[in-house]
Each structure stands twice: as C-alpha cells, then as structure tokens.
Amino acid sequence: METKKTTFNNRLLPYLLLAPQLFITLVFFIWPAGQAVKSSFEREDPFGLSTSFVGLLHYQRLLVDPNYLDALIRTGVFAVAVTALSMLLGLAFAAAVDRLTRTGRIYTTLLVWPYAVAPVVAGVLWWFLFNSTTGLMPFVLERFGIDWDHDLNGTQAMILIIIAAAWKQISYNFLFFLAGLQSVPQSLMEAAAIDGSGPVKRFFTIALPLLSPTTFFLFIINVNYTMFDTFPIVDATTVGGPAQATTTLVYKVYQDGYLGLNIGSSSAQSVLLMLIVMVLTFVQFRYVERRVQY
C-alpha cells in the first residue's frame, strides 16, 4: 500500500514531537522498572538507613517459597478463568448484536458501560451483590442450597473476583469482537449460505477463523489485564483473603512490599511478574506469525 508522506526538513522536529511521550515513558515506566530491578538485588534495613547488595537471594527464596508458588498457580487459574469467561461472553454478545439490524446500536452502547466503571467501583459493586449478609446473590443462591460466604470460603472468594474482573472486561472484548464480526465481508457469509452452511456453522467455519487476529490480540490484552490491572478489584472485594485464597501475584507484590515493607522481595516479585508477561507475549507473537494469518 502506498501512503502519502510529508517530508519535513527539520531533523529536530520528529524528536521534539516524540519528546513528551518519551519523557512520560522514561519517568513513569522505565525509571521505576529500573528501580525495581535494582532493589530486587538489594536488602534494606528496617529503617531505610542502609542497603546492601545481596545478589539473587530474593529470587532464590521466592522460587522455593510455597506461598509464592501458590500465588503463581492461583494467578494462572485466575487469568485463564477471567480471560476465558470475558472473551466467551464478549464473543457471544458480539455475535448476538451482529445479527441485529435496528437495535444493535442501543445494545452496543449499553454493553460498553461496564468498561467505563472504575475497577474499584466494579469490585465494590460485586462485593455488595455477593455480600453474605445483605447481598442479593447469596439470598438467591440459598434457594439452590448454596451457602455463599466469600469471607470464609476461598473458592467462593476466587469465583467472586473472577466474576468481577471478567464483568469489567466483557465490554472491551465485546467491542473488538463486534468490530471484527462487522468487518467480515457480507458476501462471504452469503457465499457460505449458498454453500449449504447454516448460521451456526457459518459462524464457526467462516467468521470465527477470520476473527483469529482479533481473538489473539484480545487474548494477550486480557492476560495482561488479569495479571496487572486486577489489583483494585481484589483490594476492594477480598483483600487477598480468606487465608490468601485470592492473593494473586500482583496483590502479593503489594502485600509484601507496601504492607510487609519487604521492598527487596517485592521488587523481585514484580520483576518476575514482568518477565512472565514478557515471555507470554513473546511466545504468543511467535506463534501467531505462523498460525493466525490467513
């Protein structure tokens, strides 16, 4: 594809235009990340008066710490569950709205609202709904013989944060899936209809394969979201409890660093978390180059 290019002779201009973004990236992302890497190799005394270099000690301890390994597995479960739930529901809503001709816009608008809700508010909202003494859901669930109390039951606490985190993300996935579905050429669907493929089969054999770039993109975004951005939801609902049942990696970073004041270990954890996401993204992009194109 040919694109029009305007050439500026001033060689300084591009750097000048990039400067604000570069400045923000450096100050708010690179520098703190660098600090985290640095302090993950250091140990600080309780009063912050001296620091000493300890090498990989924090990492060695973390990798044999059952608490940390549990949090790792828990985060895996959480990430998979939230990603699967929010993407499946987002796709289902998008497929439903895509079939509407007249009221589609209204549904789209309504379905996007949860995304505008702040994570803390989303968490509080679901916390109220599931509150074991005043909430609506436990009242309903009781009819089905389910005794809901996420303050005592770890599994239920995990389900609560999964629902809250997924709920917020459905809107985002829905929007992308809907845009993807609507960019599938109508004539392809018509050709498939003539080729004897019913609506459901058309969706699975034509639309879904054509959505694979969107699906892949959303998968990465969602995994990153659950790893990093779900802190407010956990903090507003379960505070990592009961008995650490909802302490995900990102929440543990906060607990150990901010509450426990173990800056070294907390830094090492955040570095590890960063590495996990980097590796995941890298592997996924490598894989996508071969599989998702058509």
Partner: protein, 367 residues
C-alpha cells in the same frame, strides 16, 4: 438441470421504495440469460432474490418447477459467483472448492474427484494448496467459478463477476465463461452493467431500467429492434443517435434535412428517430442525403467515429478510415435502418430491422 420461472416478482423495501417492479421472465433449461441495465436498475436485487439472499416481496420464483420463495439459499440448488469472488480467505483453494460439498455430506472420494475435475477444467490444478491471497485476480475468478461448478447445481448465478478484472482479462474470462456454460449446459443468470458483456454472453438479454423490464430478446433482436429509446441508447457502442424529427406523409424531416421513406412511414407527426452510427454512410451520387457539420473525429483503428451536427442536433457516424473527411459532409441512411420512437413515452413505433428479417437474425445469433 432446470429452467427458472420468475413470475411477477417485486422487491419493496421498508419505506415503500420499489426496487424491482413486477418482473416476469421465463428461462429455459440450459439458457444463458443476461440481466443488463445501469446501476440501480434492480438487476442485482432480482438476482439476489433468485438466490435467496433477499426476501421476495411479491410474486414467485421457481427453479425446476419448485417454488423456492420460502427456501433457504442452500436448498435452492443454485451456485453463485460474486463480484468480489467471496473466496474464504482462510481456506486453501481446495478447501474453498470442497466447502459446499462437505456441508452437504458428500463422500470424501467424490469430493476429491469433483474438485480434481473442476481444477482440470479451469486449469487451477497447480494452485489447489494455495490460499486465495496468493492468487492473481484472474486465478481468483477461476476459483470462484470452480466453487460454483463442483456443486453441479441446477443454475449458475453471476453477479458482475468480471468487473474487478482488467480489460484484457475480462475479454478472455468472458469467453471462458461462455465456453464453460455451453459445455456444462447449466441454466445461467448473469448480471452486468456492461452492454458489450451482455451482448457477447447472452442467449437472451433482459434490459432493465428503474426496476422494470424494458425488453427481452436475443442480442441481435435487442440491437436491431430496441423496444424503447432507453434500450436504443444503452445497447450498442457507440450509442444509437436519437434525434427529434417529424413525419410528413412518407418524408422524414430532421431539422432542415429531408429523408424519403419510400412509403414506409409508420406514423405521422413528431417522433424520436434512432440512427445507428454504423448505418450512416457517405451519400453516393444521386442518393437522398442530408448535410452534416463535423465537430471532431475519434480514430479507433478499425473504424472512425465522426461527431457533428445535423441542423442543431448532435449525431455520430461510423465511417470507413481510408477517406479524407471534409468539414461538411453529405450523409445518407437506408430508410429501413431507421428506428422510430414516440416522443412522449420513448416506446418503439413499428418493427425493427431484425424483426422484418427474423430468419437472418436467428442464424447469426446461433453462429
């Protein structure tokens, strides 16, 4: 194999816009019908109603004596070739061809045999394992054709299948479509806005304008006896000259020019007169002629188009290339090559050239 009957079919969109107005066409088994007309004339809508991609508002469509109004596209036993080919981009050519057969539960060996046969017929064998994006426009077009023929449907529907190709490829693909259709003998409906494509492909043409049929007939019938000024100006290149004239007895007056009709005047009073550029010729000595003022010349190699005026009306004549052209010419036309249309409705008055010599016309069309 089956004929198609379109009986009083209309398409009314919400809001009351009538895109197709009570159209009836009887299509014989194995016939190649071309729906031709300007954009917005309803030709694609009509085709999509036959395909089942648009609901039929009024009337009835039957394919092989089955009324298909309420059937799904898949149940109508038709195959369609789309303008943008509509190949499944994530499937290989083989998978594209096999998709429709697979959906119908055709045994694997049968699928392989049919795909191989279609690939041989269309010479796309070497590309079976490629994805559509790795093919050229012409190859994609062939795959789209292949997807239609592997199904062995009762009818082929073509929706402007050649308009995305360059001019040269379009001509060769046109020939191929015609050959393939002859060979398979499958009833076909072909939609196009290109009158040349329509003329060369059709057994019968259906000229549509504003959702209504202007004329149905063989290409030569339509060419030699256009039913209206619309058809006259749409079919044939250059377009038929349409000038206003007046009939007095057996004389036709076009501005100051008088043409003797030798007693063949079909009406009297003001009429619209149609003159094909290729029917005009330089007047021979002693022939009744009219004066023509030259504006400019278009050289086309095999012929030259001479644009100018008769009186104050525009006229184009196709003249042989060898002679010199003066600024003012004397042109003549055989009286039986004139076409007359009513000024008010644009409908034809009297028979056309072909209608008067039907035998000759038919022989040419089957040659």
């Amino acid at each position: 194999m089956a004929g198609i009957t379109i009986a009083g079919v209309s398409k009314i969109y919400t809001g009351g816009v009538k895109a197709v107005k009570s159209v009836s066409i009887d299509i014989a088994d194995g016939e190649f019908i071309v729906l031709v007309g300007p954009s917005g004339c309803g030709k694609s809508t009509l085709l999509r109603m036959v395909a089942g991609l648009e609901a039929i508002s009024e009337g009835e469509v039957s394919i092989g004596n089955r009324v298909v109004n309420r059937m799904e596209p898949a149940e109508r036993d038709i195959a369609m070739v789309f303008q943008n080919y509509a190949l499944y981009p994530h499937m290989t050519v083989y998978q594209n061809l096999a998709y429709g057969l697979k959906n119908r539960g055709t045994p694997k060996a049968e699928i392989e045999a049919r795909v191989a046969e279609a690939a041989r017929m269309l010479e796309i064998g070497p590309y079976l394992e490629r994805k559509p994006r790795a093919l050229s426009g012409g190859q994609r077009q062939r795959v789209a054709m292949g997807r239609a023929i592997v199904r062995k449907p009762a009818a082929f529907l073509f929706d402007e299948p050649l308009s995305n190709l360059d001019a040269k490829l379009r001509v060769s693909m046109r020939g191929e479509i015609k050959r393939l259709q002859r060979r398979l003998g499958t009833t076909s409906i072909y939609v196009t806005h290109d009158q040349l494509e329509a003329m060369t492909l059709a057994d019968r043409l259906v000229v549509l304008n504003g959702g209504e049929i202007e004329q149905i007939g063989s290409p030569l019938e339509v060419y030699h006896a256009p039913a209206s000024t619309f058809v006259a100006s749409f079919i044939g290149s250059p377009a038929m000259n349409l000038v206003s004239g007046e009939l007095h007895g057996d004389k036709l007056a076009i501005g100051p020019a008088l043409i003797d009709l030798h007693g063949k005047a079909p009406a009297s009073g003001p009429v619209t007169v149609g003159l094909r550029a290729e029917d005009l010729h330089l007047a021979r000595p002693g022939e009744a002629a009219f004066a023509f003022k030259l504006d400019y010349i278009e050289e086309l190699g095999a012929q030259r188009l001479v644009h100018g005026h008769v009186g104050d009306q525009l006229l184009t004549a196709s003249l042989p290339t060898e002679m010199d052209i003066a600024d003012e010419l004397m042109l003549a036309i055989d009286a039986d090559r004139l076409h007359f249309f009513t000024t008010a409705t644009g409908k034809r008055i009297g028979d056309g050239y072909a209608a008067r010599t039907p035998q000759a016309a038919r022989q040419v069309s089957h040659a």
